[in-house]
Symmetry: C2
Subunit: 482 residues, 2 copies
Amino acid sequence: MLNYRTIIRIFSLLLITEGIFMWFSIPVSLIFGEADAWVFLLSGAIVSLTGVVMYMPVRKSPLQVNRRDGYIIVTGGWLLFSLCGTIPFLLTGSIPGITDAFFETMSGFTTTGASILNDIEDLSHGVLFWRSLIQWLGGMGIILLTLLLLPFLGIGGMQLFTAEVPSPTPDKLHPHVKDTAARLWLIYLFLTVGETLLLWAGEMGLYDAVCHSLTTMATGGFSTKQASIAYWSSPYIQYVVTLFMFLAGTNFTLTYFAMHGQFRKVWQNEEFKWYLGFIGVFSLIITLGLFFTNTGDFEPAFRKAVFQVVSILTTTGFATADYLKWTPWMIVLIFMLMFFGGSAGSTGGGPKIMRIVIMLKNSTQELKRMIHPNAVIPVRLNKESVGESIVTNVLAFIVFYGIITFISVAVLSLLGTDFNTSLGAVAATLGNIGPGIGQVGPALNYADLHAAGKWFLSFLMLVGRLELFTVLVLFSPLFWKR
Amino acid sequence: MLNYRTIIRIFSLLLITEGIFMWFSIPVSLIFGEADAWVFLLSGAIVSLTGVVMYMPVRKSPLQVNRRDGYIIVTGGWLLFSLCGTIPFLLTGSIPGITDAFFETMSGFTTTGASILNDIEDLSHGVLFWRSLIQWLGGMGIILLTLLLLPFLGIGGMQLFTAEVPSPTPDKLHPHVKDTAARLWLIYLFLTVGETLLLWAGEMGLYDAVCHSLTTMATGGFSTKQASIAYWSSPYIQYVVTLFMFLAGTNFTLTYFAMHGQFRKVWQNEEFKWYLGFIGVFSLIITLGLFFTNTGDFEPAFRKAVFQVVSILTTTGFATADYLKWTPWMIVLIFMLMFFGGSAGSTGGGPKIMRIVIMLKNSTQELKRMIHPNAVIPVRLNKESVGESIVTNVLAFIVFYGIITFISVAVLSLLGTDFNTSLGAVAATLGNIGPGIGQVGPALNYADLHAAGKWFLSFLMLVGRLELFTVLVLFSPLFWKR
């Protein structure tokens, strides 16, 4: 039985929160002397008051939820945030149609960064601040989700991500988890402020520094400039952003350990080693490629390569270069990177390094099983063997990822999108990256896609952001059976 | 310990067999009054005599093999056949370079059908007959392999394909399996003769009828005409070829049952239902697509659609239409079909319907496991539950298939091939299909690829044909450890 009243109670709390955050744009508008401060006041009021009205009749419902309520709350919560988040875009007229506004907002809350805006610089500071803030809220949502809800829902693989997360305890939250969530949220805030200061110390103004820090730490990738980070040619700015994209894609518990001097725990973490390894190998190859084919100058080649590799792998999606103008094999490497994703326990999207590692390890183990069919050959991670049901879950996740990609490419091409654009758009939205390949590359955007395609891709962003299963179970008839 | 002497004994028997088959081209050359009869005599003699010389010192070795010998024999056998099979092409000068000759021969023995020939009709009848014959031999090899060796090697999933195959008995062959192998081989021969007669009864000459039947039943796809089956505009010919491609992609045990009137067993087979279902759905969609966009005439649209769907899905690769000229979304559907493959127990390549079905079923079961995490929810096939290790094996297979595809596309693009061609060439060789997308579409061929790319793709054909694991275990250090 679904606890409808509890679900409504949580939804209304979410609305009240979102409305309050809308008011954060009011001071921005006032500082820049823009006329749309009242829009944010009004939008925030509409959303929070709706929340309050919804809250009243259910204010005494218990906050106890069961597993199925959890799925509804997560998927429904993201949908609700995205729907209501469109109001400032619509009321200011910055994005006139609901299709585009919903696409942009969903792209924000899912930390994707895919945009339909052709002239970002034309928008007011208040609106662009809201656009950055929704990514930051989305990132925060993911941290809370990873820690509080996913282990509780038993979304396999995620439990693994740190010793800090106790094994899932059904139907109530472990108090320890709440502490961890609070700590990780503080790190998220701390890193956001840190990046802001470092960018501000460089060639970036305070406003742009804040906006980009909000979207970096969420691995979101919305920029206040049409040219993205390429707008700032300063190597300092680009390296700072690279560093913070890297941190945003790192398991936040590891950052916590590092801040407390426990570097051993960081270096012993296998997922982190692979994360570093993937970034290192891809950056090296592309640096050499760019060095020999394009620039002939080492530092810019290295900077561009490492920026784009980190940006795509962590699913941030900022750009300092139009990688579609690189030699084709480099584009293929960048496209491959779209199927990695950040670390588990980071704000990064995609399949995640953890799953890629388990998948690769299981593959080599399967070969060993072929040679010694009667031996028990488990997958090991951080020196412990990974349970068979988690391996099956990870493989099922990867397979689902592939199936969804395949079917989605077919759907997009049915809507008249060419093959490469379909492939790029699906990879970049399902993986919550932003820029893809084809007509949705880093120098272009999603404005020209079919309206149905935009709705479909918005759905993919949600599916990808919520680890597939969270959304897909809702389509299982079993879910709705008593 | 590998039994080297036994392995050499088996290899020499294989060479003797191959040499004898080369002589089959002598009468063809003589009938058509071509000068290269002596080339086949000489080639056959070289290959058989090498076999005889190799055989002598090891003629008393036992034919008992262990699991690891099995892997060496299968992969080595296919390599040896392909290497020696080039001799007639090289000696006649039909294909001058070893790269091209090896590519074409490997494409033959793996029943792929990818070609580097620009003017097929310029080749002599004897050479084209040899080219068709190697596909037929490759198909026969796969039947023997599926029945005799794969279950014995424990290549998971394959054991499932029929109740006729007893569970793998280590280190000796079940006599029952030999009977089955003989029966299936007879069906293979019977269907080949049947198709020959039906094609000959139509607009095709006897020689072309024989050649095309040899390559249809192997799901090979080599044609004696540059235009492939499109050369014959007759609907009768095209429908006959469609029917036999369908049969070649069907589990041969089911054909056996059908021939003995046991239709119940056929209809109850779940893989067969899905096989029919996939063909039906894709054919229907593409028929409608062609009807409304291209022809405006129903029968030709239906004929083209069903021909290409069956040709690609069964991994045959014949063409009656250049599908790359169709509307982009139809190309995407055809490309998707490249990742299905024939039924288990057929001569078809690719991942196979059986694995696709287990993968899809496990995905929906995984969603159910999310809802009831404590329940045991197995995958069921033909009303029996599939063991967890088989499911893991199938998922690992699919994942390997994806990883290999990804890496191979990167390798090909590093060699300067464009993205779409790389994607098409990899899908079409790993899946043993033949024509791909991009510059290796059905109206084009593999002639212009980089030489290193041709060797690489030859390797992919082998890997795909031998169910990945058979070849990949050889790269596992554990395999070579005592």
